[in-house]
C-alpha cells in the first residue's frame, strides 16, 4: 500500500533522514518508534507532502506520489493527525470536522455562494455522513457545538482524530495520538483508534512513545535512530532485538 524507497532528507548539513525504506501492507497497523530526533515526524511530513525528500521515492498504491502537493495527497485519501494539536481553536467541533471533509466537496465557490440545488444537497449528504460515521463513532455528540479551545486536552485529541477521519481516508497517519494523556484517556483513545480502524478498514501508521500501546496494538514496528531504520518486525521480535534495546529502550528495559 505504502512504500518508502531510500528516503533522504537533509536540512543544510543535517541529515534528518538517511535512506529510510519502509513497506506498509494494506490493513496493517504499523508503528514507528525511536528516540527524540530520530526522524519519525520527518517521515510523516514526507508522506503527507509537507517536506519534499532530498532523494528517494514514495509510492502509494503503486503510484509515485513524491512530487504531489499536500492537497493532492489528501485527495488520494491520506489523512494525518499532528503531534501538537492542529485544530482551529476558535471554531466548533463540528466546523473543524467539516473542514476535514472540505477536500471532497465538488461544488465551486459560486455554487456554494448561491447555495441552492446541488451544492446544498451535496453539503447535506456530507453532513449526514459526518454524523453517522464520525460524530457517532467517536462519541462527540455532547460537544458537537462547543468551541474546540474550551475543551480538555484529551477531547481535543479525539476531535483531531475526527477531523482526520472526515477526509474519509484509506491511510491514516497518527502522530503520537496518546501523548500527554493519562491512563484512562489513553485507554479511551486506543479503543477509538482500534474501533475506527476495524469499522472503516483503514491502514494505520502511528508514531508513539507509549511502549505499552505500541506493543499492544501494532502488527509491525519500525525503529528509527539518527534518521536510519535500525530494526523492523513484529512487536515481540523488535522488543527482543539487542540493537533496539541498546539504542532506544535503554539497557534496563524490562519486557512487560
Amino acid at each position: 500500500m505504502l512504500t518508502l524507497d531510500a528516503l533522504h532528507l537533509s536540512f543544510g548539513g543535517v541529515a534528518a533522514l538517511a535512506g529510510v525504506s519502509l513497506h506498509v501492507d494494506a490493513g496493517d497497523f504499523f508503528a514507528i518508534i525511536g528516540p527524540n530526533g530520530a526522524g519519525k515526524t520527518s517521515v510523516f511530513n514526507c508522506i503527507s507532502g509537507i517536506y519534499a525528500p532530498t532523494r528517494g521515492r514514495i509510492l502509494f498504491e503503486g503510484k509515485d506520489i513524491t512530487a504531489l502537493k499536500p492537497h493532492q495527497r489528501a485527495q488520494l485519501r491520506i489523512a494525518r493527525t499532528f503531534q501538537n494539536i492542529a485544530l482551529f481553536r476558535g471554531m466548533t467541533v463540528l466546523d473543524n470536522v467539516k473542514i476535514g471533509r472540505h477536500v471532497h466537496l465538488r461544488s465551486g465557490v459560486l455554487a456554494c455562494g448561491v447555495y441552492y440545488g446541488r451544492a446544498a444537497r451535496e453539503e447535506r449528504l456530507h453532513r449526514a455522513a459526518i454524523e453517522r460515521e464520525i460524530i457517532d463513532l467517536l462519541e462527540l455528540q455532547d460537544i458537537r457545538h462547543q468551541i474546540v479551545g474550551t475543551l480538555p486536552y484529551g477531547l481535543q485529541k479525539r476531535v483531531e482524530l475526527a477531523r482526520a477521519l472526515a477526509l474519509d481516508p484509506v491511510l491514516l497517519l497518527l502522530d503520537e495520538p496518546t501523548a500527554g494523556m493519562n491512563a484512562e484517556e489513553t485507554e479511551d483513545m486506543v479503543r477509538f483508534i482500534l474501533y475506527v480502524k476495524q469499522v472503516k478498514r483503514l491502514t494505520v501508521v502511528m508514531i508513539e512513545h507509549d511502549m505499552g500501546v505500541v506493543m499492544d496494538i501494532s502488527d509491525r514496528v519500525a525503529v528509527l535512530d539518527f534518521g536510519q531504520k535500525i530494526a523492523e518486525g513484529a512487536p515481540a521480535f523488535v522488543q527482543r532485538d539487542p540493537v533496539v534495546i541498546k539504542a532506544y529502550l535503554g539497557e534496563d528495559f524490562q519486557v512487560a
Binding site: 453517522r132 457517532d136 462519541e139 455532547d142 457545538h145 474501533y195
Partner: protein
C-alpha cells in the same frame, strides 16, 4: 370485566392516531427521528412475536438494563403483550446487583443496551442458569463475540416479522388473553430503608394512577414528554409509559445522557417529573450563575425574585390568580425568569412534578416564584408512582397536595400514612411476609409519617423511622432540616441525626463544583475532594450555612455540631440508592466513628447561631 392493559391501550391509540402523530421521537445522528403511533405498535408487535419465537412464555420475566431509548418501551410493551413481566435494572448497577436481581426474578430474557451491559450480564450468567437469552440493542463492539446466548434486538424483530407473516392473528390472540389485574411490571424498590423488594404493579394500578393524575392535570394529546430518568424508577414508568399511552403524548429520547440538558431545551417539554436532586441542581446552578454575573443582572434577578415571591403570596392570600399578581409575574418574567426557563428548557412546561423524596420548601418556592407550575407529588412504587398531588389552584409548599381521584388516604394513630385505591399494588414478589406487613385490608402501610390538614392536604413529615424525637419531646423531620441545608449551593447532601440523642448533628457533603469554584474565586488551592473538604476555610463556609439554617429552626431542632464527608457519597459504595437518595442506615453504620465523635462532649454545646438569635 377489567380488560384494559397497557399494550391494548397502545393498540387503541395506534388505531386512533395512526400516522397523524408522533408517539416517540429520538435524536439520532444529530436529527430528531419520529416514530408514529402506527409504527410504534408495529414495532411492539414484531418484538413481541420475536420474543415468543425465543421461547418466552406467559408469566415469565424479562429484565431490562438500558438507558432511555425506544428499545425500552418496545421490549417492555412486547413482554406485557404476551403476558410476560418486565422488570428494570439501573444501568449503573454493579454486576453483583445485576446477578441478585436476575436470580431473584428468575428472568428468562434480558435486554441490554450495549456492550458494557452485555459484558456485565455475561460475567454473572453462570450464577443465573434460568437466563436463556441476552438481547442486545446496540451491537457495536459485539461483532466479534461468538456467544450462543447473544442475539440482537434487530434479529429478534426480524424473526417477529416473519412470525407475523406466518400467523397474522397470533399477536391479537395473545393480547386478548391479558387482563388488567395481571402484573404489568416488577418494580424493584430503591431501598432507602434496606434490602430492595420487588413490588408487583398491575396494569390496573398504572392505568388508575394515570387516569387520576390526568384528571387533576389534563395532559393532552400531542404534548411533549422527555424521557431522561431511569425507566426502572416508577415515576418514569408513570409519565413516559402509562400517561403517554393514556393521552397520546409524544415521548422524546435524548441523544445521549450527556446531551440531555441541550436536548431538553430543543424539545421544550410540557410535562416533566424529576426527583428533588434534579431541581436542587438546577437551582444551585442558577444561583451560582447569577452570583457570577454582572451588577445589573444580579439586581434584575433579585428584583424578579422579589416580584415573583410577592405574586405568590398575593395569590395564596386571595386563593386564586388575580390581575395585579399577573402584572408582577409578567415583570418578573421579563426581568429574569423567561431566560431562566429558556436556558433550562422549561419554557413550555404546564406541569412540573417533584417526587421520590421531599424537596426543600425554599427550592420549591423559588421555582414557584419563577412562574413554573412545580408541584409536589407524593407516592411510592407500591402506589404506582403518584397518589397525592396539588390541584392547580391550591399549591402550597408545606403540603404534598390532595389525594388523586380514586385514591383514599388516612393517617393511622401511629402517625403513619395509609393509602387505599385502585393504584395500590398487588404485593411483593416471592415475599408474602413483607406483603402482609405492607397491606392490611386494602390499606397500604407506607412507612411514612404525616398528617392531613383542614383542607384535606397531606403533609408528609418524614419516613416514620427518621422522625426525630427532640430533647423536649416534640417531633421533628430530619428531612426538613436536611433540605434547608441543601438549599445552599455549597451543600450537596446532608444527613441529620438526632433521634434519641441529646442533640442534633449533621453530616454534610459539600458540592464539589460550587465549592470548587468558590475556592478558585477565593484563591484557595486544592487538589481533590478530600483535600477541599478538609480546608478550614470550607468548614467556615459550611458553618455559615449551618448558622443560617439554625436561625430558621426551633431551638431543640438546631444543629449543634456538624462534620464534612471527605468523599462523595456514591451508590457503588452503598451510600446512595440508585435513584440518588441517601441511605441513612448504611451511612449511620459506615460513619459510626464520625457520629460518635460528634456526640463526644459531655455537656450540650450551644448551636452556632447568628448574633441576635432567631430572626
Amino acid at each position: 370485566m377489567d380488560t384494559a392493559t397497557l399494550p391494548r391501550l397502545l393498540a387503541a391509540q395506534a388505531l386512533r392516531l395512526g400516522r397523524r402523530q408522533a408517539a416517540l421521537r429520538e435524536k439520532k445522528y444529530g436529527i430528531w427521528q419520529e416514530v408514529t403511533w402506527e409504527e410504534y405498535a408495529a414495532c411492539v408487535r414484531a418484538v413481541c412475536l420475536g420474543l415468543a419465537a425465543l421461547g418466552l412464555e406467559r408469566g415469565e420475566k424479562v429484565a431490562l438494563i438500558s438507558g432511555n431509548r425506544p428499545a425500552w418501551p418496545y421490549v417492555e410493551l412486547a413482554a406485557q403483550s404476551l403476558g410476560a413481566i418486565p422488570l428494570g435494572i439501573f444501568v449503573d448497577a454493579l454486576p453483583e446487583q445485576v446477578r441478585a436481581v436476575l436470580e431473584h426474578s428468575e428472568a428468562r430474557i434480558v435486554l441490554v443496551e450495549d456492550q458494557e451491559q452485555a459484558d456485565k450480564v455475561l460475567s454473572v450468567r453462570d450464577a443465573v442458569p434460568r437466563l436463556r437469552w441476552i438481547v442486545v440493542d446496540d451491537m457495536r463492539g459485539l461483532e466479534t463475540y461468538r456467544d450462543p446466548m447473544l442475539v440482537s434486538l434487530a434479529e429478534v424483530t426480524a424473526r417477529g416479522r416473519e412470525e407475523e407473516r406466518r400467523a397474522p392473528n397470533r399477536y391479537d390472540t395473545m393480547l386478548a388473553d391479558g387482563a388488567g389485574t395481571d402484573v404489568a411490571l416488577l418494580a424493584y424498590t430503591s431501598g432507602t430503608t434496606g434490602a430492595s423488594k420487588a413490588a408487583m404493579v398491575s396494569h390496573r394500578n398504572l392505568l388508575a394512577m394515570a387516569t387520576g393524575v390526568a384528571q387533576v392535570d389534563p395532559v393532552r394529546e400531542g404534548d411533549q414528554i422527555v424521557s431522561f430518568l431511569p425507566f426502572a424508577w416508577v415515576g418514569e414508568q408513570l409519565i413516559s409509559v402509562a400517561i403517554a399511552l393514556h393521552v397520546g403524548a409524544t415521548v422524546n429520547f435524548a441523544e445521549k445522557p450527556e446531551t440531555t440538558r441541550e436536548d431538553l431545551r430543543e424539545i421544550g417539554p410540557h410535562v416533566v417529573i424529576a426527583p428533588p436532586r434534579f431541581w436542587e441542581t438546577m437551582c444551585s446552578e442558577y444561583q451560582v450563575r447569577i452570583a457570577g454575573a454582572g451588577w445589573l443582572k444580579r439586581r434584575a434577578a433579585r428584583l424578579a425574585f422579589a416580584l415573583g415571591t410577592r405574586a405568590l403570596a398575593g395569590d395564596a392570600q386571595a386563593g386564586r390568580r388575580q390581575w395585579n399578581t399577573r402584572v408582577l409575574r409578567g415583570l418578573a418574567r421579563l426581568l429574569a425568569f423567561r431566560s431562566l426557563h429558556d436556558k433550562f428548557g422549561l419554557s413550555r412546561i404546564r406541569y412540573a412534578y417533584t417526587g421520590g423524596a421531599p424537596l426543600g420548601p425554599e427550592i420549591f418556592r423559588f421555582f414557584r416564584a419563577t412562574g413554573l407550575n412545580l408541584k409536589q407529588v407524593y407516592g411510592q412504587t407500591e402506589t404506582a408512582g403518584i397518589c397525592v398531588l396539588h390541584p392547580d389552584d391550591d399549591v402550597r409548599a408545606e403540603t404534598v397536595g390532595k389525594p388523586a381521584p380514586g385514591t383514599r388516604v388516612r393517617v393511622a394513630e401511629t402517625g403513619e400514612i395509609l393509602v387505599a385505591g385502585d393504584s395500590v399494588f398487588l404485593g411483593y414478589y416471592k415475599d408474602p411476609a413483607a406483603t402482609a406487613r405492607a397491606l392490611d385490608d386494602g390499606w397500604l402501610h407506607t412507612g411514612d409519617a404525616g398528617t392531613l390538614d383542614a383542607r384535606g392536604h397531606l403533609v408528609m413529615i418524614d419516613r416514620l423511622q427518621d422522625v426525630l424525637r427532640l430533647a423536649d419531646g416534640s417531633r421533628f423531620s430530619a428531612a426538613l432540616i436536611e433540605n434547608k441545608l441543601k438549599f445552599s449551593p455549597y451543600v450537596r447532601e446532608a444527613v441529620v441525626i438526632g433521634a434519641d440523642r441529646p442533640y442534633v448533628v449533621a453530616l454534610i457533603q459539600i458540592d464539589i463544583d460550587n465549592v470548587g469554584s468558590w475556592a478558585e474565586a477565593s484563591r484557595l488551592p486544592f487538589t481533590t475532594f478530600q483535600d477541599l473538604s478538609h480546608k478550614t476555610e470550607v468548614t467556615a463556609l459550611v458553618e455559615a450555612v449551618v448558622t443560617r439554617v439554625n436561625g430558621e429552626l426551633p431551638a431543640p431542632a438546631r444543629i449543634v455540631r456538624f462534620a464534612l464527608f471527605d468523599k462523595e457519597l456514591h451508590a457503588d459504595d452503598g451510600e446512595l440508592t440508585r435513584t440518588q437518595k441517601v441511605r441513612r442506615g448504611a451511612i449511620q453504620d459506615k460513619y459510626r466513628d464520625m457520629i460518635t465523635a460528634l456526640y463526644a462532649s459531655t455537656e450540650v454545646p450551644a448551636p452556632p447561631l447568628a448574633a441576635g438569635g432567631v430572626r
